[in-house]
Structures are given as C-alpha cells and as structure tokens.
Point group: C3
Chain length 387, copies 3
C-alpha cells in the first residue's frame, strides 16, 4: 500500500487512531494458501419434477463463496455466503439470510484448548446431515430444512478435552427475526403470547471419535425461548461410520416445541380447524417432532459411488387426543450414482432420483390431502478450493 496516498485520500478506514493494517511477515506471505482458504461451493443440475405442475429447468442448486483462515495461531475467521439469497438484514440479528458464517475464533488457555467463537455461525446441533458440506447433500429432511434455525448469531465456548473429544456451549438467538416480524409474516393470531425480553437459547454438545475414528459422535441438547414463558427443548444424536470405501450416518432427533414457529405441523391443524366458529389460524402449541435419517455412500469401483438416503419424520400433538400422535408423517428417500473423474478434486457428475411424501392422519387427515414429489436430477457438483 502506498501510505502517502492513503493519507491524502483519507477516509473512513484510514484513521491513525486505530491503526488497522498489520503487515504480514515474509514467511506468513509464503504460507498464504496454507493460512487462508478461498472456496467456491457449486452444484447445478437439470431437474425434472413429476407429479407436480412445476416446470423442469436447469437449476443453480448451490453457489456459495467461503473465505476462511488463520491470521495468527490464536485467531481465525470464517466468512461464507450464498450467491442466491438477499443480503437485506433480518429484524432481530441485523444479519442477512445470505450469510451462513461471519465469525471469528479466539483460542486461549493452556495449549490453546479453549476457544471462543463470536458472530454468525452454524447451530451446534448433533446432525451429521447438516454438518455435511451442502455441496454434497442433495436433499434435506424437514428437520434441517425447516425445523432448525441453521445459521444464527451466537457466542460459543469450546474445550478440547483430548484429541478425540471436545465439548461446546453455544449461547444463541432463538430466531433471526424478532417476535413481531414472525407473527406478521404469517398473519397468525398471537393468542396471548408475548415476546421474550431475552429470546436466547443454549446448545450443549459433545463431539467424539471412537474406535480409531471409525465411529464419530455428535450429540447435542438445546434449550431455547422465544415467547415469554415458553421454553423449547431438543435432543439430537448423530452417529457416523467411516470406513475405507464406505461411509454412513444415522441421525436421530426429538424436539418439544412450546410454540410451533417452524410452522411444519400448524398449517394442517389450521386447515382442520378452519370451519369451526371463532377460529383464527395460529402456531400450534406443545408440538413434538421426531426425525430419523440414514445416509450411506459406497465407492463400489474406483471413482464410482452409490449414494442413498432415507428419512422418516413425525409431528405429534399429544395434548389433543383427536389430532394426537404422528398426525403428520414426512417420508423421503433418494438413490443416486456419482462419478468422480479427477482423483485430486471433489468434482462429481451425478444422477439421482428423489421421492418425498407428506401424509396426514387422525382428525386432520380429511382436510389435508397427502403431498407427493418425484424428482429426477442429472448434474455436476464441485467443491472448488481456489487457494
């Protein structure tokens, strides 16, 4: 940088009050691409839906840019954003939906075993499905797609107990929009609910490697509040098996939502109650969600992979015996083939078939027809490590 000029063209980053430019040493410079990673996450496919009125099209399934790195041993940062989401800020956290990560990590303490991560980050939930890079995860459960608040403002404290075991505490915003925005966007009645003054939550999680890293665990418990006096709980148990040419994960979760902000089960019950007098649509209260999801990947000959995934999800309203257990089921599976022509690069040509159905039972069955989607896709994915 030509400092003479920066001085003469002084503006809002040139204040000498807060000297902001640190010159990296020559050795740091030579290690640029070891210290810093710039990634481009890409997936595009031709999608043909069947059994729906959607038009077939070439889709940009994934396009995200990631910049991450270690500035010095104690400090690192991570930025990742999608190229296909608005950057307008959400009402509660002042961060946009486009940004997945915008955070820094400070490592401290004995042998730097502690870390603090502040800023927008991934929810520390025990889900290998969510943990997988989105480049490679073609379709998601409702648990990841709708139920979780995936990327949120938080402060995380972590401790590495041994090389194979770590624990984290993550204090986070429950939602990214404020209470009024959430209600106004659905038009739902509030039924006496009021905003919590501290709409925060806490993830407690454990990540472990067992059996020589063949079995990897990611378990979490979450407690959160959004409406005053209404508390949500969730448990997620993620297990991964990593062998030479075979990988699999099995994630199980169960959540109690005091108020159904994800709005997965509420529409069906609102449809059912609509004909009743003096009824106004609203978020259900005291709903239970459960998910089981299994994915397997197998390299059956070099460079060729079979991938398959299946999931089963339920919504239950136990306090109402008419609606009751499993009033909504969400079932999906895919099977696909991948070809990875260049050994050193994570570029794959793929073809797969996805089937998804939502079914309604008990009292809500008559007013809510089952939903079906067949989707056939052929395309390309590539996790590009630019440097």
């Amino acid at each position: 940088q030509n400092n003479e000029i920066r001085k003469s063209a002084m503006d809002s980053t040139s204040s000498s009050n807060n000297p902001v430019t640190q010159q990296p040493s020559t050795s740091q410079l030579l290690n640029l691409s070891e210290r810093i990673d710039l990634n481009f996450l890409f997936r595009s496919s031709v999608e043909y839906p069947r059994g729906s009125s959607d038009q077939g099209a070439v889709k940009m399934n994934e396009a995200r840019i990631e910049l991450t790195g270690d500035i010095i041993q104690d400090l690192s940062f991570r930025i990742r954003y999608r190229l296909n989401r608005s950057f307008a800020p959400n009402s509660l956290d002042n961060a946009p939906s486009a940004v997945d990560h915008a955070n820094i990590t400070y490592r401290f303490g004995n042998e730097k075993k502690w870390h603090l991560t502040a800023g927008k980050q991934a929810a520390n939930v025990g889900s290998w499905e969510f943990d997988t890079n989105p480049t490679f995860e073609y379709q998601y459960t409702d648990f990841v797609n709708k139920q979780l608040n995936l990327f949120l403002l938080a402060m995380e404290i972590g401790y590495q107990v041994t090389p194979n075991h770590s624990f984290q505490l993550q204090v986070h915003n429950t939602y990214n929009q404020d209470f009024n925005t959430v209600f106004n966007s659905t038009g739902y009645a509030r039924n006496g609910l009021r905003p919590s003054k501290t709409p925060l939550g806490l993830y407690v999680s454990w990540q472990g490697n067992l059996l020589d890293k063949k079995w990897q665990t990611f378990y979490s418990y979450n407690i959160a509040q959004f409406a005053k006096g209404k508390t949500d709980h969730g448990v997620a148990i993620g297990n991964k098996l990593v062998l030479d040419r075979f990988n699999a994960y099995l994630d199980l979760q169960s959540a109690y939502m005091s108020v159904d902000y994800p709005n997965i089960g509420s529409p069906a019950v609102n449809n059912y109650l609509a004909p009743f007098p003096i009824f106004a649509p609203t978020f259900l209260q005291d709903i239970n969600y459960k998910t089981a999801v299994l994915r397997v990947d197998y390299e059956f000959v070099p460079k060729w992979f079979i991938t398959a995934k299946g999931f089963y999800e339920t919504a239950s309203l136990r306090k109402n015996s008419e609606i009751g257990d499993d009033f909504r089921e969400n079932i999906g599976y895919w099977a696909g083939l991948e070809f990875k022509p260049v050994g050193s690069q994570d570029m794959r040509l793929f073809a797969n078939y996805f089937y998804n159905t939502s079914r309604y039972h008990n009292a809500v069955a008559n007013t809510n027809p089952n939903q079906k989607l067949h989707l056939f896709a052929v395309g390309v994915l590539y996790f590009v490590n630019v440097f």
Copy 2:
C-alpha cells in the same frame, strides 16, 4: 489451516465424509496469479440527459467482481457478479440477477479438445457486442439489453476442431423466471397459453479465426420454448475485424418470437388496441425482430481513441397487415473520445454523446409517440486485474 482447531470447531464444511480441502503444491502456490484472476470491472461517469425529465448525476455505470481460474489443467471455474443487483433468486433457476457467471468447466477427451461447462453462464449467442467486456461497451442495442436472456443456467458441450475453429452446443433455460412469474409481473392475459414442461432452448454456435485472425466470426442459431407448443428461432451473425490500431464489429441478427416475452413491441400494439372492446393487454404472438449494429474503434494517435457505434433495429408483425413490417424502429448511435494514459493498464478517461430514438409506424403510429434520448457523459473506466 489449523486442522486441530477446525476439528474442534466442527461445522457444516468440516465433515470427513467428504474431504474437501486440497492443499496446492508449492509450485501451484507460486503460480497463484497465473492460475487465478481476480478482476474488478469499473465504469463511472457524470451523465447529463437532455430532452427528458431525468436528473443529471454521477452514475456507477459498472461495478462487477470476477474470480476465475484453473484449479488443475482439467478443471476451471468462473464467478462474476454485479455489485448493484439484488441477490434474491429468480423463480425458475434459483439464481439471482446479480450473478452473471457461476460455473465450472471440465475439459476431457483427446488433447482436452472437449469441454463441458455447467452452471450460470453467458448465452452463446453470435454477438460481438455482447461478447465485449461490459466495462468497455457504453450503450447497448435492445437486442442485448432486452431481447436476449443474457446470463442463464445451462450445460454447454464444446469441441475445438482446430486452433482456429470451435463449435458449441448449449442447452439452456429459455427464461430465468417461471411462466407464472413472467405473466404475473406484467399483468398480461394468457390467451390460452400454458407453461411448457421443459422450457429449454439450444444454442448451436461456431467461432472462427480467418485471415490470420484479422477476421473473427461468431455465428449462432437458437431454438427455444417457453409456452407449450410455441417455439422461437433466432440467427445471429457476428463478424469482427482486428487490425493494428483499428477494430470493428458488425453484428446482424434476426429472430422469430412465437410469443413476445421480451415485451419490446407488445406495449405499442397494446396501446393501439386499448380502445377496442373486450381487449386485454397481452404479449404479441409471431413477432419478428431484426438488428444491425456496427462499432468501430480507432487509435488515431498513441493513447487516444475514437469510438463510434450505430445500430438499427426493427419489430414486425407480418400476420397483421395493418401493423405489419417495421412497425417499431429503434435507432441509436454514439461517438466518443477515449484517453488511455497508462500503457499497461486498461484505464481510460472518456467523453461521449449518445442519441437514441424509438419510432412507431403503420397502425400503431398514432397511439405511440416517438421517444428520444440525448445523453452526454464524461467519466472513467478501468478493468482492474487485481492479481
């Protein structure tokens, strides 16, 4: 990257299921700026319109960021986006208007003469006007500005026949919005039109170098569908002359649109038909568009350039003899001066004058007054190759 820490702060890109980080070798590292290009496309000018009610202003004409490069010999990527467009995704392709390019190219076959490009990319249309970097192209024809779907999701297969001749096939989305969005945004009547299940198109193109690269050709044919059973055709013939201090291109195009989605000629006819009973505004059917555009650039003394451009475009509705041939003409030209003070850098100070008029003839002449624009601009452009 500090892998110990990435492990302890595990999140959605750290899965060992899909190892995603490839460490470049030292030799790759030293070649970073040979492998990768980071560009900033910039043009800003003070614009004074005359003959209109617009306010004069300093404009940000162009601000785009481009990141492109070869990861290995077989694989390259390209990202380019505008800093002044929304990143909200379009309804059909899930990609935003801000993104011009988000694609990867895989080269394969004997001597790597074949390539596959997937993702958002430029339409492979035989137009040197569109092919010119937008940093340098001050004003466009309606052909480029409105008629073409410039940047679209596609899968392209190309073959390099000889060093001087190549052919491409590009399967692409016809439009980036879905059928219903296109009609809803205009409020036009559908007149029985229904969405195609496969609203795709195909470009077939040839690029050639003749006469020791002095004459460069870019010819294309396009066939596409958007409404069911309605097929569009277009031919574009681009010719470029490249001499020492003189360049010119002459592009000719003719297109038959079964439905006038670009909505260039329809407003005039809708205005004309408005007084008729039982008339609802709609997209015209069976419209023909033609364009001729010539640009010349001449370095008359070292570092000083004269640039001039002229275009003539017509819209015709032959099946209706009252409206008929050339019912709309769009005529424009500019003349300007450029000064390039630093030989090694594509930075130019410029001044130019642009005149544009749209004229209406035949039956629609009375209801559609001619439009005129005079624009005087003084400014700076710079194609910055950061590294």
Copy 3:
C-alpha cells in the same frame, strides 16, 4: 490462465478487441500482500436494551469486506461492501446501499501530488467520527447516522501540498435516490418543490498534521442542491489529538438545510401541525443543525482501554419564532472498557453502556414526548487483515 481454453469458451470478457488481462511480473507477484489488502471488518455483541420494548439479542453489528490495493504506482482501487445491506441499486446513482466504496484513484502530475478518485466513495466531510473505521465506532451521532449522505458517487481531485497538508475538491451527488423517490418514500407533500436538473454538491476540504502530527485537522465546507433553487450549506471542523496512550477527537459542525431531506426535525413539527386544518406533512424548510461530539480513548494499563464518547446536537427553525431555536436536542454518551489480548492484532473484547435521549422544546414540546434508550453491550470486534 489457460488461454487456449478461454478462447474456446469465449464469452463476454474474452474479446480480443479490448485485451483486458495484464499479467503481473514476478516481482509484483511476490509483493501481492504488500500491494493488495483484503480486510474483514467485524463486530458482534450481545445487546440488552432497557426502557424500550426491543428484544435483547446477539447482533451482527458490523460485517464488511474490503479489497483495496495499488495495481501500479499510478493506479489504485478500493471496494468495500457490507454483508448486511441489500445490493439493489438506488434510483439516482445506480449503486446499492450495501456498497461503501467502489472507486479507482489515478495519481498524476509532478511527483504524483495530484490524484483523481472516481466512483462510489466516502463524503469528504471534516468528521473524525465518520473517518474512524466503523469496526471501532460503537454508536454514532445523528449527524453521521442520518444527516450526512455518507457514501456517494463523486469525482474527487486532490493535491498534496506538503507531506503534512492536502486539499480536496469533491463533486458529488447530493443524494443517492432521485427526487421523486425521496418524496414518494415519505409520502410528504412537495409544496411546489421541483427536482434540480443537476442535484450535485461540492466538498472543499483540508487535512493537516500539526505539532509533529499530534494535532490532526480535517476541515470541510459543503454546498449542495437537490430541489431546484434550494441550496444547502455545511461546515465541519474536526480536530484530533494523538498522544502515546491517549487519543481524542472533537468534531463540530453546523449546517443550513434549505429542505430537511434527512428528516430529523421534520417529524416533530409535522406532529405539532397535524391538528391544524389543511395541513399536509412535509419536509421542513430552512432548518439549522448543529453537532458537537467528543471521543476519548485511553490505554490505562497495557492492553486495557477506557473509551468514552459524548455528543450534543440541536435542530433549530429560526424563521418560525414559536418553534425557534433548539426545538430538538439529541444527547448521547457511552462509556466502555476494551481488552486487546493479542498485541499484533486489532481484536478487542469490549463492554459498554450507551444512553441516548431526544428532547423537544418550545411549541413542539407537547406533541412530541422525549425519547430514551439505554443499551448495554458485551462483545467482540476485530479488524481482520486477511492479507
């Protein structure tokens, strides 16, 4: 870059008409991180508001990306944008609110003492408060937050008289939206105001270093027009004291607004006039704004800082004796503690308390209750120099 391939995959940046890629030399390459800076501006905190109905939350206070550098000795560029603002363009300048800087600087003349900066840039206003990098400035006056048009399209000419003194002339757009958009977004009556054909302004500014750089001055005068025949004037006097472990700035400003487009004082007067017959809300005319702001920073023990800021602002309507002088006061202060654990890096852990009140006097006092905000924040900031 593999030029063979770029040729075969020709598209809109590959035209040989305008050869756009300059290969840096090996020596330039080795100096990449000396020539180019990539920065990530970050601040996040847990904020608890008191005395308001707002919800507490973890906030993304700042997230901006900056890329800036010298391409050659004569030419540099600067891009900075926020990750939490929309990229949709404004109506007058075609640039989005998300972009702070998108400009180039060309240095010329004897010893390169002259420069021209074109594009979106910071207003050259004599305000050390605004000049401070936003990473480090927790809360702002209404002067910076609302009254100024901070980032605008402009052409700036500067001259470095001596190493310690420089002068700048900056011709700029008065506002980023056009006249009609400004009125339509408020719904205010125009009261006969018409758009200026040249809604431009001019900053004249001096930056100086005195007393061995211990005293730094930034003085500016501004004249601007937006409505036809209505001219605004402003003077800003910024003084900064830079000692070893103590910094302070004192900024004073006074502005006469022929029309109150910033809309700071107008709502109070509109509330007051609302009951009168035949009244329509509008922008006040002939309003005066004054601001005094003082910030001090003191490193009281190594790595620990005390920071405090106070400001006092008034709005006056002198032509109306009932509303009169100082009819609105805006008063604020904060006090905070910062800890900077890593000497070489501008990362700080902070806690602070901010109080802000707006009070109304004279005729408008009864219809405008005083506003109060208490805000307690604990968080992290980091100006990351990636390379």
